[in-house]
Symmetry: C2
Subunit: 105 residues, 2 copies
DNA sequence: ACGAATCGTAAGCGATGACTTACGGTAAGT
DNA sequence: ACTTACCGTAAGTCATCGCTTACGATTCGT
């Protein structure tokens, strides 16, 4: 999956809460859903979206399914934003220079 | 506006196309909308969303309004992803270590 | 001063998405 | 074996979102 799916996945607030809960380490579904404002099936659906986007990895362990943040998926998004950042800075500097040139005339 | 709005703004494909068109430098609305698959009012609405999210800046110049990528908005998103990246790596390393310890037993 | 161009906004419509309840399937406990 | 716990999926509902057409406001050209 590409970075587009990752952005779409992170656009939802509930999914960002899930990501935040996994920041400290892997967790099973019930632990993720516990105390969150939505039902457990809703969490399952969000987990599927995040997994399909490459942001989470799953390891079935007996009865439970343990989810964890997948660093590669996050890195993809990071690279996209880095190139955007570089282009934005370059365009910004160029525009400032052109404006200064026009100003001096 | 916070990074949440920036993520939501970039989640839409049409808005990413707009961002891509502004990568090389500032452009007025008509130039952005030209050749894009949607109507000009639609582009205007997208520009509003991107501006509200802090990803674009506007400079009214006579008849036209020139839009440009706002580096600060992009940087906010970058920082969010960087901390997520750090946490993901740390959690990953910790989980790997715990698994190795359990394996050795 | 008058017509054309540029652009934002309002209203309405169709599609997508997030949530719920209900259900089925597999593993663990007794 | 039987019950309980854990989890994914299906179906349906309601809100949100992206798009279009129509309109109004401001600025440029002549």
């Amino acid at each position: 999956m590409a970075y587009q799916d990752a952005i779409a996945a992170l656009a939802d607030p509930t999914r960002r809460v899930i990501i935040d809960r996994l920041r400290t380490g892997p967790l099973p579904v019930s632990a993720i859903a516990d105390g969150m404002g939505v039902s457990r099936p809703a969490v399952s659906q969000h987990l599927k979206v995040l997994s399909d986007a490459g942001l989470l990895s799953v390891t079935p362990t007996g009865n439970r399914r343990v989810y964890a943040i997948a660093p590669e998926g996050v890195d993809e998004l990071r690279r996209y934003l880095d190139t955007l950042w570089d282009d934005a800075l370059a365009a910004f500097a160029r525009a400032a220079q052109e404006k200064a040139k026009g100003q001096s005339t």
